[in-house]
């Protein structure tokens, strides 16, 4: 029986889909059978990020409406035989699916894999409610911005009210340099406000954009540090006890000079 994890955030554009694609791939690389589900009906993206767009024949709504069998709609990943995608419908909207239908679908998926990762749409409306309806656990993605954190806080409250317990937190797009100079909220600031457990920190990395545009995921690139951070999160999902180290980058010459003048280092 699979464990079902929903990835959500409240605010859009903070990295839900990127995180779903990378964590799904990472779990598959670690030998688990994984199904990633795009619950963003009408605005599907996960297929693009995984580079599977041109293989879609049936989608989530087709399965729910009985136009096809579940296995017909599951698309095998290009790189990893253990990873499957259940794409969202692009020509429907969120009302095409009800919470009960979503729970039934998720329960069908449970017997097909070890992990089911659901990519939630942004917002707090029916799309979000559908995405968490069948989940055993919720992971919240946020960036160190006031607006994203405010939305994450709201979403945590809604998850708790829906009986999903305390979600886990991924802090995405952290810039250590800006944190050091006091221009960005630190990991500690975020944890103080949100008061939930951290499961990983992902640095701001331009490589995410290029990878996304190519339909590749970073965890496949062995040289990518960011990919490694995602693999660490996947290991933590599997229950391994891996310490969350602060994100380090090399301080610039200017920073080191001013540090010297202030008597640091």
């Amino acid at each position: 029986m699979a464990k079902v994890i929903t990835i959500t955030s409240g605010k859009g554009g903070v990295g839900k889909t990127t995180s779903t694609a990378n964590l799904g791939t990472a779990l598959a690389m670690l030998g688990k059978k994984v199904i990633v589900v795009d619950a963003d009906i009408g605005l599907r993206n996960l297929d693009v990020v995984l580079g599977l767009e041109n293989r879609i024949v049936y989608d989530l709504v087709d399965v729910i409406e009985g136009n096809c069998r579940l296995r017909q709609a599951l698309i095998k990943d290009k790189h990893n035989g253990e990873l499957y995608l259940l794409p969202a419908a692009q020509t429907k909207d969120k009302d095409a699916v009800s919470q009960t239908e979503m729970i039934e679908l998720v329960n069908q998926l449970r017997s097909e894999a070890d992990y089911v990762i659901i990519d939630s749409p942004a917002g707090i409306e029916s799309g979000f409610k559908n995405a968490i309806a069948g989940a055993d656990e919720v992971i919240i993605v946020t960036t160190p911005e006031v607006s994203a954190v405010r939305d994450a806080d709201r979403i945590i409250g809604l998850c708790e009210a829906a009986g999903k317990g305390h979600p886990k937190l991924i802090i995405n797009r952290l810039r250590p340099k800006m944190v050091r100079s006091g221009e960005m909220m630190s990991v500690e600031d975020l944890l103080q406000i949100l008061a939930i457990d951290l499961i990983g920190i992902i640095p701001d990395d331009e490589a995410v954009i290029t990878a996304t545009n190519r339909g590749e995921v970073l965890v496949l690139d062995k040289a990518s540090k960011t990919g490694k951070y995602y693999i660490d999160i996947a290991r933590r999902i599997l229950g391994e006890n891996i310490k969350i180290d602060p994100i380090e980058d090399n301080p610039s010459l200017m920073e080191r000079l001013s540090g010297m003048f202030q008597g640091k280092r």
Binding site: D151, D153, G157, L158, I193, A195
Partner: protein, 219 residues
């Protein structure tokens, strides 16, 4: 609060006892005033109106139902001794029950409450009486109480104490960086500069809300 009505907190709601020996018009007016002044607290809480032995005409019940609908989103219970009043109340659109047994009403009322949780953005905590929150009140969250509010944590959201008009209510917090503070009929906005990181207390002084460091505060 007026002499005609008494409000008590009950499990998950409020019980409004309406004196059954006075003129209905006096009681009705007092109730309307209370509903208006205490709207922030009463709106969204489950209300039961205890009419006691009072007999009420169908018209009066209709009127009462309309007033309740103006202020209230939750269904309202009518508690009445008279079976006729209960039947008429149901016709008017209320839920109707006989009043609670005497032993229940005489039980000591619990007015203060301790809650151990983070109040998050979008959540509203309502309480009749004094409230202690062991945790943070985050930005976008609201805490509303008819008595005082003590937060053993950071306040970044909105706190409303004395929500039924009690001007002696106070708001205390380990870190009081509230977006807005309200006590009874007064409001205060957070100063633009960073709030103090020391425990503070807000109370009404000379018709405005004053905030003092806890160690400077003496009654």
């Amino acid at each position: 609060m007026s002499e005609y009505i008494t409000i008590k907190g009950s499990r998950g709601g409020l019980r409004v006892q309406i004196l059954d020996t006075c003129e209905w018009n006096d009681a009705f007016l007092a109730l309307q005033t209370q509903m208006r002044d205490g709207a922030a607290l009463m709106h969204g809480m489950k209300l039961s109106l205890d009419l006691g032995q009072r007999e009420l005409s169908p018209q009066a019940l209709d009127e009462l139902h309309q007033v309740m609908r103006t202020y209230q989103t939750e269904p309202v219970d009518i508690l009445a001794e008279s079976r006729t009043v209960r039947a008429e109340a149901r016709t008017a659109g209320f839920n109707a029950k006989p009043p609670m047994p005497k032993s229940d009403t005489s039980a000591p009322e619990q007015t203060s409450s301790v809650l151990s949780r983070t109040v998050r953005s979008g959540q509203i905590l309502r309480h009749h009486g004094d409230l202690v929150v062991l945790g943070d009140v985050n930005a976008g969250a609201e805490v509303i109480a008819s008595g005082s509010v003590v937060v053993f944590g950071r306040v970044r959201g909105v706190v409303f104490a004395g929500a039924m008009g009690d001007r002696s209510a106070v708001i205390c917090a380990i870190e009081l960086s509230a977006t807005q503070l309200r006590i009874a009929d007064l409001r205060a906005r957070a100063p633009e500069d960073q709030g103090q990181k020391t425990p503070e207390i807000a109370s009404i002084e000379d018709n405005h809300i004053a905030v003092h460091a806890w160690h400077d505060y003496r009654r």
